[in-house]
Amino acid sequence: MKKAVTMVGVILLIFFLGCESNPLYFRLSSDYFPISPAGATWEYSIAGGGSRIVTVVDQIVTGERPCWRLQSGADYSYWINEGGKLEKYEDHTVLFNGFEVPIYQAWITMFQWPLANGMTSRDSVSAQAVSQGVTLSHTWIRNQTVAGPEVSPDGVWSDCYRIHQEEMVINWIQTAGFAPETTISVRNIWLAPDVGIVMTQSADSLITLTSFTGGEE
């Protein structure tokens, strides 16, 4: 009997020595992009000078869906975080001959929950509109890869996911003298649990969260 108990003990010890614990259940229960309630405020500093304040203003209906409205400076953005995904309302217009021509309005999926290391996604939009007899086309392609969990580069936030985004935009005014304009941008976004975006890094900018205040339910 003693031998059996000792043997089982040794087997269990060897078995569990190589096992690691990490806060997987904490990450699963966290909101990595808390866009509610109203009053939540993020203050960012911009490398090289300047700051940005983002505030959840209120809940309104946009694009026929109830959503949260966020304000940054004079700009508003519209978000929905439900059904296992975060969506943003895009209202894309192109300036042509002094007119703002609407190309498309749609809810675009930004992230799917839950995030996991190595998760990949590809989203795209292709739309066109005709203005003054000229076709204006717009193509947007975004590839995303998730890495983590990791500590944010400033060392402040743990259990972050890093979203690596590669975005390509092709705008083409299809008339003589205009060629397709292609823009490629690459950025890394760090999302912290129950805080949201804590850092955004691209080739020409670095934006870091300096303070976060949750709103009142």
Binding site: E20, Y25, F26, Q112, P114, L115, N117, M119, T120
Partner: protein, 175 residues
């Protein structure tokens, strides 16, 4: 891991000849707390071998696997593997219709999340389980049991608690 558990069961069973109650149990699992927000309810299946120290008191080892799907028709899946030790106490072990019992389990849980083609680092955490059983006869030597459990995975930062509704069949084997 399967091999280690089977080996442990074999060692215990070989050295301690006697009567062992083998149980196969299926369960529906409902997460409690935010950790299951993006996951569906889980389905579990487990195999347990319990040594009968007396007709009423049993203790042994078991292993259970659980899988959760995506709550929103996405691609996430979450799995748990739980090697554990069990103790149980049944009040009327030969009752044909009503043999109420209490069960407890302690062990480790291996948790693995995959989503969108990615896989998060696997976590190993201690876990416990406590529940009640209504055990009854299916005709000798088979018995069955319905049960309700509360379990908790003691992970860092946040525990993974859940309710389980179980149905199991069992039989005793003389070793």
């Amino acid at each position: 891991m399967y091999k280690a558990t089977i080996l442990m069961l074999a060692v215990v069973a070989t050295v301690m000849a006697g009567t062992v109650n083998f149980v196969f149990e299926g369960a529906g699992i409902t997460p409690i707390g935010g950790w299951g927000e993006n996951l569906s309810s889980g389905l579990a299946g487990g195999l347990y071998g319990n040594w009968l120290f007396s007709p009423k008191f049993r203790a042994g080892l078991g292993i259970e696997g659980t899988v959760f799907g995506d709550a929103n028709q996405g691609s996430a899946s979450f799995t748990q593997m739980k090697p554990m030790g069990n103790v149980s106490l049944f009040l009327r072990p030969h009752g044909a219709v009503f043999n109420p019992g209490l069960v407890m389990g302690f062990g480790y849980c291996r948790s693995r999340l995959s989503s969108g083609g990615g896989i998060d680092p696997v976590s190993w955490d201690p876990f416990w389980r406590a529940g009640i059983r209504w055990n009854f006869s299916l005709g000798s030597p088979w018995r069955a049991g319905l049960g309700l459990d509360l379990e908790g995975i003691m992970a860092s930062g946040k525990s993974g608690d859940a309710f389980r509704l179980t149905f199991g069949v069992s039989r005793e084997v003389q070793l």
